[in-house]
Symmetry: D2
Subunit: 170 residues, 4 copies
Amino acid sequence: MRTSKSDSDKKIIISVIGGAHCSDEEAALAESVGKELAKRGVILVCGGLGGVMEAACRGATIEAGLTIGILPSDDSTTCNPYVQIPIATGVGYARNIAVVKSAQAVIAIDGDYGTLSEIAYALKSGIPVIGLNTWALARNGQQENSIIKAKDAIDAVGKAISLAGGLKVP
Amino acid sequence: MRTSKSDSDKKIIISVIGGAHCSDEEAALAESVGKELAKRGVILVCGGLGGVMEAACRGATIEAGLTIGILPSDDSTTCNPYVQIPIATGVGYARNIAVVKSAQAVIAIDGDYGTLSEIAYALKSGIPVIGLNTWALARNGQQENSIIKAKDAIDAVGKAISLAGGLKVP
Amino acid sequence: MRTSKSDSDKKIIISVIGGAHCSDEEAALAESVGKELAKRGVILVCGGLGGVMEAACRGATIEAGLTIGILPSDDSTTCNPYVQIPIATGVGYARNIAVVKSAQAVIAIDGDYGTLSEIAYALKSGIPVIGLNTWALARNGQQENSIIKAKDAIDAVGKAISLAGGLKVP
Amino acid sequence: MRTSKSDSDKKIIISVIGGAHCSDEEAALAESVGKELAKRGVILVCGGLGGVMEAACRGATIEAGLTIGILPSDDSTTCNPYVQIPIATGVGYARNIAVVKSAQAVIAIDGDYGTLSEIAYALKSGIPVIGLNTWALARNGQQENSIIKAKDAIDAVGKAISLAGGLKVP
């Protein structure tokens, strides 16, 4: 259906998810992820708030990348200062669905139960999830290996871009 | 604020969550949970579809309990036949939030990633989650024990009712 | 699909929509609508808050009817005191969709822009809207007559029940 | 809070709303609106589908503007071919809230009940709505003049930009 653009015009969109509060170490990791995404020409989507989200947006902004923040509130001004395009959904934490479904791959950094809900929504849809110090899952006593472990920011971004390619890009 | 009713009028509402497809064994377990909830006068909330949700509603209906199905679609007729009050949300899997937030406790039976998203939303809000053969969580290499294990349907319902008491009931 | 129940078991569900703040006159009208719905065995759905919603629930409760409040917040205790079953959606004013889609007909009493959004969602889905002193619509300079005018509470409930019959009831 | 950017960095975001199906005349009008928004450096937000939304995005793309489509489905590939950044919300027509709340002003072109729900959500929040051949409202027999009439595309965009200035931009 998307015939007006050549393949080369298509931008990859990758989400970075994680807690609205995070340690300095996690913030540094998220900033590195944001920088690397921007260097590689990827559009960064996130939940638009603080912590991991803000650090990732800051990193992307430093490298002149584009950042989109999909907010729970209906007020665009609630975003962190490094969000260039705020989407004010007004649907609360139902926006977690949009945060992952708008991306071709997801990078999870640490995170709390909100992040876990996003991981669940992504895996439900077959969107690849790359994890940095984040949740691990087991079901009925069996380990699940659906979250792909990365060893650092560059590894996470490389894996995310590689796996994003497998999905249809609009 | 709720002054028109005495405490004794207040009904406990408990959600049963789990896969829309399930094994016969899981269905039997869910039906037992539904029966036990109804016998104890609890209103059953669920996601309104098949599998674990349908089996739990069937159990509750057999024991003349009240069942509410909070549906993803905007069409009330998409509910399973044992839902007495269908809520047609029209917000897709964002209805998972309503399924857990409308309850004072949640019983998770088996389940896939959708169930995992519901567990995450419940834990994020401090709503107790009682698990029967369901997900287990670890974070940064540490086991999480936030899902309370139950050994059978009667144990699960007993724990859920007991923990529901700790929450404010409207 | 709904084979477990005979047709005679099926309950009609009707929504009452209107402002969270209203005049005494509107409250009296909403209370009369709630009473009449309960007398006729209809389940009342509303948005769960104050004003018209609270008055309608109060009327239904006086006549021992069942009331369901579909709330914007994720906290069941935010409902008015006459809501018997609160549904805490957590999706903000996106719950307006659920308020109308869960019913077979809608009665609109006065109301502000939130009510207008509900009327729009109902009409979009072909759910009949009966109006008491509420919005009137025109499109491209032409009057729209899609909102059915009622002259009083009894007339509104009669029309709503009659029109609800045309829809499939789950 | 947004301290990392000077005021001159801030982009205005304006939504164009209207039917997913429209006449050739309406499509031409929507395309002109899209062109004019892009020429004036405004980011265009819309619901991402066909009809007025597609025509507006096409116009903006011709003038090298940025287009964002906030989709009802959870599949980014359902957008029209001129959407550069698809947001796949997965919350159905609850995305109508995001379409208007993410903008500082809204331009409504013709439109059906979905558009009416968007107008209602915008007015509820005090977001200015500029109308081109669209809905007119009356309440309790009194005309409402809350939708600001424009005489053509250039007039609509001029009024929208002027009124957008009155809102806080993130």
